[in-house]
């Protein structure tokens, strides 16, 4: 087991405490998720990340901010929505921190607490994706893309037309969705699973600039 090496430098605000605890709850499901406490700030994750150039908070900084008691900034960042899940950081981390899985936990925390950065519409894509699985049990990629575009700005469809035509020519598009036979069973499984996932509704304190980070004790 990992011993608690974290020494709290001060007192966290109510909002930060809730965010931090929700996040730590989400990491519990990850095998060895608690290793986040063992970060040595070497920056291997940031250096390995092919997308770190496009991030506002790099993976190393993200863990530093977590330590500094600033979950608010982490959850507002576009970083957690940019990650393409290539797992390079997780493979190379000398402290064996499950960086990619930690980013997933952050996504879930952000969604649960409705702190969403809308500049990268990954959330909208996820919603369309989930509906599709619930409806058919399988996914039809062209339909998913069209639905997603309709949701996020229909003018983007014009950008897709050349590729669409080329794909039709090569016989690579099929619009009819496959529905599985056991769809009712699958829905039962999903409904049951949702009952485990239900977030506990509590009064969530509003964001105030001074409510971020540890308050130092004088």
């Amino acid at each position: 087991m990992i011993t608690e090496i974290e020494i709290l430098p001060g007192i966290l605000s109510e909002r930060e405490t809730i965010l931090r605890n929700t996040f730590l709850d989400h990491t519990k499901i990850i095998p060895q998720g608690e290793r986040i406490k063992l970060c040595i700030q070497c920056g291997t994750c940031t250096a390995s990340c092919p997308l770190s150039y496009a991030m506002d908070i790099t993976p190393r900084k993200l863990i530093a901010l977590f330590r500094a008691g600033d979950m608010e900034s982490i959850l507002k960042s576009r970083t957690i929505w940019i990650c393409a899940s290539c797992y390079t950081c997780q493979t190379r981390c000398p402290s064996q921190i499950k960086v990619t899985d930690i980013l997933y936990a952050l996504k879930r925390t952000a969604m649960e607490k409705k702190i969403l950065n809308t500049s990268i519409p990954t959330y909208a894509l996820s919603q369309s994706f989930m509906k599709s699985i619930y409806k058919y049990g399988r996914l039809n990629e062209p339909r998913l893309i069209i639905k997603f575009i309709m949701k996020t700005g229909f003018w983007k469809i014009f950008n897709m037309i050349p590729l669409g035509i080329r794909m039709l020519k090569k016989n690579r598009i099929k619009f009819s969705a496959e529905k599985i036979k056991g769809i009712t069973d699958l829905r039962k499984i999903m409904v049951k699973a949702e009952t485990f996932d239900m977030p506990i509704e509590k009064e969530f304190p509003a964001y105030m600039p001074e409510a971020v980070g540890y308050k130092s004790i004088s």
């Binding site: 989400h26 499901i29 095998p31 092919p50 997308l51 496009a54 929505w81 393409a84 899940s85 290539c86 797992y87 390079t88 997780q90 493979t91 499950k98 990619t100 980013l103 997933y104 996504k107 879930r108 969604m111 990268i120 519409p121 990954t122 894509l125 996820s126 994706f129 989930m130 599709s132 699985i133 049990g137 399988r138 996914l139 039809n140 990629e141 062209p142 893309i145 997603f148 050349p162 590729l163 080329r166 794909m167 090569k170 690579r172 099929k174 496959e178 599985i180 036979k181 056991g182 069973d185 699958l186 039962k188 499984i189 999903m190 409904v191 049951k192 699973a193 949702e194 485990f196 996932d197």
Partner: protein, 300 residues
């Protein structure tokens, strides 16, 4: 050996050629693939990152169905491979998760005990069937074909699977034994951008461009890939990359099963080579020269 074959959604819609070629290759090598009956979407990376227990339960339904058949599950799709593997690992690691997921599966009269493995066709070809056996079945040797072996992200990472995580060699060993020429291709594990192609296209185009550039610089005739999403990103968006960066890429991106299928002498149609956007000229040459040789031998 018997395997439960799990194609995944992508192989049933956009990337049918991967599905066809995979089945054809295994058929040719007398290895039985039985498609898992009534499989459902594994949930992919997207679902896993937003609703964990639900995603695990959705993936576990497939594992439970395969366990019923009593054989390992084989999936050619990289994303399905990681997700099913991940579900398997999480269930074994955490008892609480294991119980919860089994409670969900009970709703559909299924149980999962965690006795099967999730595997990739490349793993089976190289480690179960063996390169030596494949070599015996070769009809058209790939002499002189320069292949950039592109593994992508999710079949070698995050946990150590059938190959090394920093320098996998399965595809190189396989194709070299069939006569292909090895080229220097350091970007074989670099991310192509994945699903970012729909949500954050500029970043993804940049990553894909770097991979294509690396292959062109090192003189590759084609890129062999194991991932349906990488194939789509690298080939389907090549026009857009050319427009954006002023490049002139015309790089054919083939599934590794398609190249292997050609070497095994399987018909072009069966491998779905016509569904690819770019023709690999070198591969066509090999076809023509081998058919000429056949004519000569039958005539002589």
């Amino acid at each position: 050996m018997k395997y439960a074959y799990y194609p995944g959604c992508s192989l049933h819609s956009v990337n049918k050629s991967y599905d066809q070629s995979c089945k054809a290759v295994f058929n040719n090598l007398n290895c039985e693939l039985t498609e898992l009956e009534d499989w459902n979407c594994c949930g992919a990376t997207i679902y896993m990152s937003i609703k964990e227990i639900t995603a695990l339960a959705v993936a576990a339904r497939n594992l439970a169905l395969a366990e019923k058949l009593g054989c390992d599950i084989v999936t050619p799709c990289s994303s399905c491979y990681t997700i099913l593997n991940k579900a398997n690992r999480y269930l074994k690691y955490n008892e609480e998760v294991f119980e919860k997921v089994n409670l969900c599966l009970k709703e559909a009269n299924l149980t999962y005990n965690g006795t099967i493995r999730v595997r990739h066709p490349l793993d089976i070809l190289v480690n179960d069937i063996g390169i030596e056996v494949i070599k015996l079945n070769i009809k058209i040797p790939l002499y002189g074909l320069k292949i950039a072996n592109y593994y992508g992200c999710q079949i070698v990472r995050p946990e150590k699977g059938f190959d090394d995580r920093e320098n996998p060699m399965s595809m190189e060993n396989l194709f070299e034994s069939l006569g292909a020429k090895e080229i220097y291709f350091p970007y074989k594990l670099r991310c192509c951008g994945g699903m970012l192609m729909t949500t954050f296209q500029n970043a993804s185009l940049k990553l894909s461009k770097e991979i294509l550039e690396c292959a062109v610089e090192n003189g590759a005739d084609c890129i062999a890939t194991t991932c349906p999403l990488c194939q789509m990103n690298l080939e389907g968006y090549q026009n857009k990359i050319n427009k954006m960066y002023g490049t002139e890429f015309k790089m054919p991106i083939l599934f590794f099963t398609q190249i292997l299928g050609v070497a095994l002498g399987i018909d072009k149609k069966e491998l779905g080579l016509e569904n690819n956007f770019y023709k690999c000229e070198k591969l066509e040459e090999l076809f023509i020269s081998s058919s000429k040789q056949n004519e000569l031998t039958t005539a002589g």
